[in-house]
């Protein structure tokens, strides 16, 4: 009984992280704020024929706008990429794990769909991939891993598994121990020039990074201290995503 009371208290009094830094939208990027998602797309997106979209689940108790800096920058540098940052009830993706599927059905002009998420959002993206095994070409995990009930080891899509050296919440040991739930993996680094192929996991450690710098919301309780700046960590994220989302 005490346990349920504690869960209820946390549930009702939980505070979500808001974006910390002031946001400057790149000139070439358009943003469509909708009740269920924030859509970032390039001004020239209509002229692109091989469009790719990333549906992104926010971390637990994190406002979806905290990821807008790297999402807008990614889109500004890659007109063929669109990002749909999901807005979920109570900022807890666990309540709406299948929400991303509705976007795939709605936007028919996108060639290829990817899904991803940060922390709890990554776990929920894995739930969606497990439920809809043919819907997405790839899965992007940021400081995240699938739950034991979502074994994706035989999934035929490709996985980009990004994790940070100083992450105090999803530490490297935990991430590595959950690798068995993902397709066979290889370790890559910034210099890697390989093609990302289906049925493979690409594990990339971000040196000096931490959990909170996958977004822009300051220091998170329980997180490690980053030895690189938020901008540096997110440059690495963008670099990997540009290669992966093709």
């Amino acid at each position: 009984m005490k346990y349920y009371c504690c869960v209820l208290l946390i549930f009702f009094s939980a505070c979500s992280y808001l974006p910390e830094a002031e946001f400057i939208l790149p000139e070439t990027v358009e943003v469509d704020y909708r009740p269920d998602y924030i859509h970032f797309y390039h001004r020239d997106a209509a002229q692109v024929t091989n469009g790719v979209a990333l549906v992104f689940y926010p971390g637990g108790l994190v406002d979806p706008h905290v990821y807008r800096d790297w999402q807008a920058k990614l889109v500004s540098q890659n007109p063929h990429i669109q990002v749909f940052s999901l807005r979920v009830a109570a900022n807890l993706a666990v309540f709406e794990a299948n929400k991303g599927a509705s976007l795939v059905k709605k936007f028919k002009n996108i060639n290829q769909w990817y899904v991803g998420g940060h922390s709890l959002g990554g776990a929920m993206a894995s739930v969606l991939v497990d439920n809809e095994r043919n819907m997405f070409a790839g899965l992007v995990l940021m400081a995240a891993y699938p739950a034991e009930s979502n074994d994706l080891s035989d999934w035929q899509g490709k996985v980009l598994n990004l994790y940070a050296e100083n992450d105090g919440l999803a530490d490297t040991t935990t991430i590595k121990s959950k690798a068995r739930l993902l397709p066979p993996g290889v370790i890559i680094n910034k210099q890697s020039t390989l093609d990302f192929v289906a049925g493979q996991t690409y594990n990339a450690l971000i040196f000096g990074g931490n959990h909170a710098q996958f977004g822009n919301y300051g220091q998170q309780n329980g997180d490690g201290i980053a030895t690189v700046s938020t901008e540096e960590q997110q440059e690495v994220i963008i670099d990997y995503l540009e290669k992966f989302l093709k």
Binding site: L8, F11, F12, S13, A14, C15, S16, Y17, L18, P19, E20, Y33, R34, P35, D36, I38, D63, H65, R87, A89, A90, N91, Y217, G218
Partner: protein, 180 residues
């Protein structure tokens, strides 16, 4: 920490109010449905809320002053709010009443590093059942508008309309002749 202090303040306020001459304490659970966020219609389930309020007789048997607090989840965040309102029991029968509640809301949307001020209003209709020897029970439907002005710096979608469905238990004080 500011949020914690605010919640503590709400609890202290609530306990203090309970010692006054309220007609009774009402505890409720709300199931909330989003109707719109910003100007766009977007119906969906958005969360739950817990509420506690005290009803004070006002002028006649027909009206009550409502003071209470509520904590729950809306389309944008978790929140804690104080409520002040009026109740009109416009149809009273032997075992049931049809009630119209109107509340003003003043509170905070729970964010880090700083929570944001949230205010709004709601109006709704319900039915209260009087049960012999047991606590009264009521249920109803509200239409609620709320806004978080500070969130406008982040998104143009900073105001919302919801339909909360509530269930309340009424712990009414007994009249002197009922106390035996």
């Amino acid at each position: 920490m500011k949020q914690g202090r605010f919640i503590l303040l709400i609890l202290c306020f609530s306990l203090h109010v309970s010692t006054l001459t309220a007609q009774g304490l009402e505890l409720g659970l709300r199931n909330q449905y989003r109707i719109s966020l910003g100007m766009e219609l977007a119906p969906s389930w958005t969360g739950l809320a817990l509420e506690a309020q005290w009803a004070f007789p006002l002028l006649s048997d027909q009206y009550e002053l409502l003071i209470g607090s509520e904590t729950g989840i809306s389309a944008l965040s978790s929140y804690s709010t104080l409520r002040t309102g009026l109740r009109w029991k416009f149809i009273q029968k032997e075992k049931s009443r049809i009630i119209l509640d109107w509340n003003l809301l003043n509170g905070i949307a729970l964010f880090r590093p700083n929570s944001l001020y949230e205010f709004g209003s709601e109006i709704g209709i319900g039915q209260q059942w009087q049960r012999a020897g047991r606590n009264d029970f009521s249920y109803g439907l509200l239409l609620r508008f709320s806004t978080i002005p500070g969130y406008a710096e982040i998104s143009p979608l900073y105001y919302q309309t919801m339909i909360p469905v509530y269930f309340r238990w009424h712990f009414n004080k007994k009249a002197p002749h009922e106390r035996g």
